[in-house]
């Protein structure tokens, strides 16, 4: 996707070395190295050491990694976010896609209103979203209590261990559905009008246009939205960490890998082990994101 533009935009003068571009790129790269590359390198170094009972930290090689791979808490949290990913991401992206197609179809009354209203939750901080939904889920003055009263039984129990993952999934879907819708909608908007005219001449119906023109045009943005959603799922932290106060017995300190890393650092002072969790999760995320992108672009070639 992007490499095409790289060659296209490859500008002028190749004959002599031209360093002027660094004047523009340099500042970014300096900060980039300082706040992005350096912490990763430092964390990798940390994973190779362990805090000893006496005399600071000692070099232990890959022992922290070996320990992590045998750690049931880590696997449990990884399994949980994977389950979350497999269920929540498709639901959210399909809803976003439907909304984008509906708004692009020009068959709605008041398109602009729908677009901005559905997008609005994205502007709400994750913390505030989790707080609002936490209150709504609550039995005391939320809507759950009212609905259960109406039904005459405690049907909805957002904080029970069976429901909690779905409750979190709902919050995340609510936050990002409109954002993804906008990404899809932006891609739909740039489809050249010629294609629609040609399809009309061929007598293609709405659904044929969607499957033949719109969905292929959306592939790139679907890949990007999927990658961002995968990253978001693996990094899940804000919502469960805030709901923990409301459901302390259901959400453990290792509910997600990120919560595990956080609690290892700040409750357990096990910095080396915590860095190991962060690095391993970073690698897993990057590998999966890479695979998704590879698959996405391979289909494009076909």
């Amino acid at each position: 996707m992007a490499s095409v533009t790289l060659t296209q935009s490859r500008p002028m003068r190749r004959n002599r070395k031209d360093w002027r571009g660094w004047g523009f790129v340099g500042p970014f790269m300096i900060v980039f190295l300082a706040v992005l590359v350096a912490p990763v390198v430092y964390a990798i170094v940390l994973t190779l050491f362990r805090q000893q009972l006496v005399g600071g930290s000692g070099f232990v090689g890959l022992e922290n990694y070996a320990l992590l791979f045998q750690d049931p808490k880590f696997w449990e949290s990884l399994f949980r976010v994977t389950l979350f990913l497999v269920v929540q991401v498709p639901i959210m992206l399909i809803l976003s896609l439907l909304a984008a197609l509906a708004i692009d179809s020009a068959r709605l009354h008041g398109t602009g209103f729908f677009r901005i209203a559905i997008f609005l939750p994205y502007a709400v901080p994750g913390v505030v979203a989790a707080l609002i939904w936490g209150f709504i889920y609550g039995n005391q003055f939320g809507l759950t209590g009212s609905i259960n009263d109406l039904l005459g039984a405690d049907i909805l129990q957002p904080f029970s261990s069976d429901w909690i993952l779905a409750s979190i999934g709902n919050i995340v879907t609510w936050e990002f559905m409109g954002y993804n819708m906008l990404i899809f909608y932006a891609a739909l908007k740039v489809i050249p009008a010629d294609l629609y005219e040609a399809a009309e001449i061929d007598g293609a119906g709405q659904f044929r246009i969607i499957s033949g023109i719109k969905l292929p045009a959306l592939r790139g943005s679907i890949v990007i939205a999927t990658i961002f959603s995968i990253i978001g799922s693996f990094q899940l932290f804000n919502e469960p960490n805030l709901l923990k106060a409301l459901a302390p017995n259901v959400i453990s300190s290792y509910f997600t890998p990120n919560m595990y890393a956080y609690n290892l650092s700040f409750a357990g002072q096990q910095f080396n082990y915590s860095a190991t969790v962060a690095i391993v999760m970073g690698i897993i995320t990057a590998v999966i994101a890479y695979i998704v992108q590879l698959r996405g672009s391979r289909q494009e070639v076909r």
Binding site: T5, P27, G126, V190, A198
Partner: protein
């Protein structure tokens, strides 16, 4: 729509298949808008459900920000209580504990102005440099930055904390500002935008006239890039305004908290063991936190929506 000046206006249908000059996306009409499409009531109703799902929690927040502690527990969630307490709640929120909320608000503003502003500046300069210059190491810069898009901020938070604590930077505003200065996505967006928005001919002409590269950038290119810049700025503002994980681990002193961390602290104070019920303050504080950002999005709609579609051209 002068860009599609068609030579034979009567050609009609046959012309649709002819290759013709692409209309620049900014001016391009929405494909279906020109033709008469029948509005669908059913589709509108389905989408209304989407809207209800999206706005009900926000309505809940507004309604409940008008209730006092007693009404919160005794009245129905989506309707007003017996008293209208919004202004009292706002006053209480702003003055609770000597106005700590106002201080958090100021901290958030500081992090947003310096962090998001700096991130936009750096991303704009670098995106422009990548789009318009060929320099040694350009491909490497590109590969590294694209790789970094896949590394999420939260994965870096704990390592960054460990490094910053070695450097003694934790518990200072820098701990929050520095990491938010980098926006790989913003760089990517500006870069794709600059390729088309800033014609190379103009730059060549300016060079002929002897203008320095930075002068050209600030007098000509910056203006051409402005829709892309507004988009990047807006999303950087949202990212820093909503930042929670990073300040949560970096800051231990409540006087440096941004709104998000402060609110979550109030919330756990309300639900904790030795609970001090300040639910009304949490709810009103949450409302005050989202108002500025929602207003910004509504007023700048035109800019960021065009900037976003420009970015997606390249996908």
């Amino acid at each position: 729509m002068s860009a599609i000046a068609t030579p034979e206006p009567a050609a009609g249908a046959a012309q649709a298949r002819k290759p013709r000059k692409r209309v620049p996306y900014v001016r391009q009409q929405k494909p279906t808008e020109g033709r008469r499409v029948k509005k669908s009531i059913l589709l509108t109703i389905v989408m209304a459900i989407f809207v209800i799902y999206s706005v009900v929690p926000l309505i809940w927040l507004i309604v409940n920000a008008t209730k006092d502690q007693g009404d919160l527990f005794s009245s129905f969630g989506l309707w007003f209580g017996s008293d209208f307490n919004l202004f009292q709640n706002i006053a209480d929120t702003l003055t609770y504990r000597n106005g700590i909320f106002v201080q958090w608000f100021g901290n958030t503003l500081l992090y947003v102005v310096v962090g998001a502003g700096g991130a936009t500046l750096l991303a704009t300069l670098a995106g422009y440099g990548l789009a318009k210059f060929n320099f040694p190491g350009r491909r490497a810069v590109f590969a590294v930055v694209l790789g970094a898009v896949a590394v999420p901020g939260t994965a870096l938070a704990v390592p960054t904390f460990l490094m910053f604590s070695q450097l003694g930077l934790t518990n200072t505003p820098w701990a929050v500002i520095l990491p938010s200065l980098i926006s790989p996505f913003g760089l990517y967006l500006i870069w794709t935008y600059a390729v088309d928005a800033v014609p190379t001919e103009i730059l060549e002409a300016a060079r002929m006239d002897g203008a320095s590269e930075f002068r050209t950038f600030f007098t000509i290119s910056l203006r051409l890039l402005s829709p892309g810049i507004v988009t990047v700025l807006l999303f950087a503002v949202v990212a820093t305004w909503n930042n929670y994980f990073l300040p949560l681990i970096m800051l231990s002193e409540p006087t440096w908290y941004p709104l998000t961390v402060g609110l979550s602290q109030w919330s756990s104070q309300a639900t904790g063991v030795a609970a001090q019920p300040i639910y009304n303050l949490v709810i009103t504080g949450a409302l005050l936190t989202i108002v500025p950002i929602v207003v910004a999005f509504l007023f700048l709609q035109r800019y960021w929506q065009s900037g976003l579609s420009a970015g997606s051209v390249k996908q």
